[in-house]
Symmetry: C2
Subunit: 631 residues, 2 copies
């Protein structure tokens, strides 16, 4: 970790080697112009490095002479030592009592789970069997299972008819030396693959998060637990509807639609896997196990089952699907690969949450933990090793950039971090991929909203302050704030945040926060009692906790009690891939959890109305935010 | 039972209502000419009924005037009361100390098993589930399994993905009232079928014996245990080879052959089932379970697996196949029907024998029992509830009519019973279906050989006595006995038994008997120690025990200790269909049984040579036969 000091104010921040200097400035609460999204093309982020080592990319916006003198464009500069930076003329430190900031970065499972035992559901076993003789003339399959029983310590070894044929002919033609893949079932073991001779290639697994928006997959070496490759892509079901409900409607129309929407998720997955195989040189037949987590709708559509959860009483078809074989589905994988779908607690508390509770280690935590996964739905779970209670609230698509004028997913060009100068009301932005801005994604919207609030551009109810003298606020009836001028934007149009957008965001955050407080009330505790807050979800790496707290989306809790686990669904999938015991735990988690149906809870609407205010009507829950706003 | 008295000798016999009068005469040891196979066309079996009731078919060979006087053709006459019959002029009683005869008829399983508990692997369960509500919003499948767990007392209820889809959509569209078929597995239960509403049709099963020559099937109502229909047909694999070895050779040539020979047995089965469904009006989807027993080769070919048992060390691919689904195979049944293949002990001790040991109740008998199944192979098992030992010897095809000049299977026109007048050397024959003779089947050959021996036509070594003055014995180097003259035969040619035929039969019986004695010697006991002899096999209804004893094929044991169980494979299949516990017993039987490899037993060849004599070189084992031959 290096110290970065911003002069003249002397603000300091600690960052990792290679951290971007503009991000460091944002982290330190230092404000200057930066309007090109960090693409190095506006030249406004020029700083003077007084001490320390750094390296910069090439840009036409800074002269060789300036570089000689030590100037650099912060957005294309990486920090390589302790460093002291002098801010440009127009820069001024934000004079605000800072909430201690928690930059959210995803954690390694081992950090959360301690030592994960590597004991996957599949394993490869090489056997040299004694050839049959008149003295030892048991059948081929008895000969095989006898040896496997010995190795595995189980009497229950099963082979399906196709495997019986394959095992027998392989053993006979390879001198009774062959490698077998076995899969641990509830009852014993199932032989799923046979290879002649000694197959030394490791056996691999896939951890998959099937999200409504994005599908993420990791290719994991099951012998050493390492992630060999990872890929993600948009869920191509997008073409059938953006959200869960519209996809259910599409799928329920007729059999062809159901088959089509199922095929779309399969083809997305097929693509991801092909890329990872190409990258690593792993052969598809060495992927023997898949753990897949998703919300109930995604899981059902993956199986080609109509979810049936659109209307009250929101009952899904199945909450704990059987282990499938790739060959049962239209997947271009090795037919014998097993697919475990993480069980779900309720229609709107899916396998992705179960996986998150496993991956985050919450299920065996001694601490009273609050788990929050914010996306289209906000799923909230409270508890630990003893008990669990959860609920789900519909936040709508705002946090995923939906129903927002210039909202977009966290793709290249999406504004993901925002600072607004409380004096000039000028913004400072960073985009995904640091390319020129195209729109605003979830974390950018939360940042913008919090900054607009802190800068006094909007009120606690999300209305623009029309008194301010800045061209960035404009419009008559429909007011809006211009975040990026057309000249800096990728498509040559202003990127704005409207009052309608603010309204949608406010309602979304109110739904989530009302869920949290309803859940806490249900068990009679307050935020003070919570030992740990775990944040999961698809906000990307750069959601800053304090911004989410500022608008009242997340509760104010001491940052040392907060962890961001990133994609909990993927994390848990990997953990269950590596340890088959964790799959049993997953089922226990579902059984143990009490599910609170918010639509049936009379206090939820009151909580919701109280939360339609930033950060909250009851400001005592947000003492630091209150202090900042006052200050 | 009615008494039949044959005058003038006064021989008596007891028969059932409707018994054929010619069979009754044979049973009584009464001898007269009867050369048309019982088809009513030679007119030689004319008798005078002096007392009692009978009915006769119409024949041109008997005049109305004769009928008025009370004459009848025995072969087309059925006995309806106690009756007294005067024999025709040429008839004379065989003056021989008769071995007490055991006419072999198959027994009902209940006779052997006592009360069979009807507790099949499949059952139908009608459920009226509470519709989902917000208070009770578990998934469809959880709702279903919750109810099934309650009914079945098991936590392990499994549904495959297709069944999940079907169960959910059926429940939702039928007001949560549906009927389920569940199949008991080792671990719990599997749901295999779903029907909307209350399906009141009983659930059925099939018991199947897949023999090398014949396939027999029974359609069994699994609710009351009754056989609703039964059918048998030649195994159409016959076109690929008559015996097991030639079919293995055919199947091993290439994949197409294997698929073809598998398809043949499937098509034979499909045909049988279609006929039974047509006869009974049962719907194919109500057949939910199948128990199938056969020798190892038949079982493997049914699964489409190359048996691989042709050469030393005779190792099959599998001895206990997994439960299959009809849908996995090219069977035109309801895809969801489960198929249980009875496990086998060894390559030449197949599931048909396991089934016989279950069906005959030997596996839990307190008596020391000898079980013999004679066909192309003779399988012999000795033991009871405590221990079992078995062996298998190749008898060759003679007992099935193969390698015999006029041998044939037990089809219409096959001579199945024979008597030879020890004075005139004239035969008396009955054919299957009482139609004009076409050839000789297994039981006919055994009868003929025994009768030729008793009449002194052949020696104990199976050579013809050329001293006798009868046109029936003819030929120079190659001697033969004419059993049917061309004029009475269906195809207008003499039907003969050659010395070569006798030789083949002698070797076949010697192999079986040597197996029996080798097995007895292996455990150090003699025939006197055997409490019960069970005979199974495909000889048809009319193999007479004393004839098989006379030639030394079967040991001489007091007839009250002998039971003929007929098709033991089919019998056991039915028992395992009705009681799932019996399937576990079948596996135990295989585990418990010691298998003696005769080719590895040095004493076997000695035993074989000693048995190449009728009844045996050691005549002390056959005291009654010895007395008859002397007398
Ligand atoms: S050049 Fe750095 S923000 Fe534009
Ligand atoms: S007519 Fe009776 S046997 Fe020929």
């Amino acid at each position: 970790m290096f110290n970065v000091t911003f002069l003249p104010a002397g603000k300091q921040v600690q960052v990792e080697q290679g951290e971007n200097l503009l991000r460091a400035a944002m982290l330190a609460g230092v404000q200057f112009s930066a309007s090109c999204g960090g693409s190095g093309s506006c030249g406004k982020c020029k700083v003077l490095v007084e001490k320390g080592e750094f390296e910069s990319d090439v840009s036409a916006r800074i002269s060789a002479a300036d570089q000689e003198k030590g100037y650099a464009l912060a957005c294309i500069t990486r920090i390589n030592s302790d460093i002291e930076v002098h801010l440009p003329e127009d820069a001024r430190a934000i004079d605000r009592q800072a909430i201690e900031r928690a930059m959210l970065t995803s954690v390694e499972p081992s950090e959360l789970l301690g030592h994960i035992e590597i004991n996957p559901s599949v394993q490869r076993i090489y056997l040299e069997l004694p050839p049959p003789s008149l003295e030892d003339n048991v059948s081929d399959i008895d000969r095989l299972t006898r040896a496997l029983e010995k190795q595995l310590g189980s009497k229950k070894i099963h082979l399906s008819l196709p495997l019986i044929k394959q095992a027998s002919s392989t053993l006979r033609s390879s001198g009774w030396k062959a490698t077998f893949t076995v899969f641990a079932t509830d009852e014993g073991f199932e032989v799923t693959q046979v290879f002649p001779g000694h197959r030394t290639e490791p056996v691999y697994g896939l951890a998959v998060d099937i999200g409504t928006t994005t599908i993420c997959a990791e290719l994991v070496n099951l012998e050493n637990g390492r992630v060999q490759a990872h890929r993600s892509d948009y869920n191509s079901q997008y073409s059938c509807g953006e959200d869960v409900i519209s996809r259910i409607v599409y799928a329920s129309r007729n059999r062809e639609n159901l088959a089509h929407i199922q095929g779309l998720v399969h083809s997305t997955l097929n693509g991801l896997i092909q890329e990872m195989l190409k990258e690593t040189g792993v052969q598809s037949q060495d992927i023997a196990d898949v753990v897949m987590s998703g919300n109930t709708t995604m899981t059902h559509l993956f199986m080609g089952v109509e979810p049936g959860i659109r209307e009250e009483p929101y009952v899904p078809v199945t909450s704990a699907p059987p282990v499938l074989q790739a060959g049962e589905l239209s997947l271009e994988w090795s037919d014998s690969a097993r697919i475990y779908l993480t069980p779900s607690r309720a229609s709107y508390m899916g396998g992705d949450i179960t996986a998150g509770l496993i991956g985050s280690n919450l299920f065996r935590s001694e601490k009273l933990t609050l788990y929050i996964d914010v996306g289209t739905n906000g799923e909230i779970v409270l508890g630990g090793s003893e008990w669990l209670i959860g609920c789900s609230c519909s936040a709508g698509p705002a946090f995923e950039g939906g129903a927002i004028k210039h909202g977009m997913r966290a793709a290249t060009g999406a504004v993901e971090q925002v600072r607004i100068d409380p004096g000039t009301f000028e913004p400072m932005i960073l985009t995904v991929g640091q390319s020129s801005p195209r729109g605003i994604c979830g974390s950018g919207l939360i940042d913008a909203m919090a900054e607009l609030l802190m800068a006094g551009v909007i009120t606690s109810k999300g209305r623009f302050n029309t008194e301010l003298d800045t061209p960035r606020i404009r419009g008559q009836e429909a007011l809006e704030y211009v975040l990026v001028w057309a000249e800096d934007a990728q498509n040559g149009q202003d990127i704005v945040i409207t009052e309608g957008d603010l309204d949608n965001l406010l309602r979304a955050k109110a739904a989530v926060f009302a869920g949290i407080t309803t859940l806490l009330n249900a068990v009679g505790i307050t935020l003070q009692d919570v030992d740990e807050l775990l944040i999961a979800g698809g906000f990307g790496r750069y959601l800053e906790l304090d911004k989410a707290v500022t608008i009242g989306l997340l509760p104010e809790i001491s940052p040392d009690r907060v962890k961001y686990i990133g994609n909990g669904s993927l994390l848990g999938s990997r953990v269950m891939l590596l340890s088959r015991r964790m799959r049993q735990e997953a089922l226990q988690v579902c059984k143990k959890m009490t599910y609170l149906e918010l639509s049936q809870d009379p206090s939820f609407m009151d909580q919701y109305v109280s939360a339609l205010f930033m950060p909250h009507t009851d400001m005592s829950m947000f003492p630091s935010v209150q202090a900042s706003l006052m200050g």
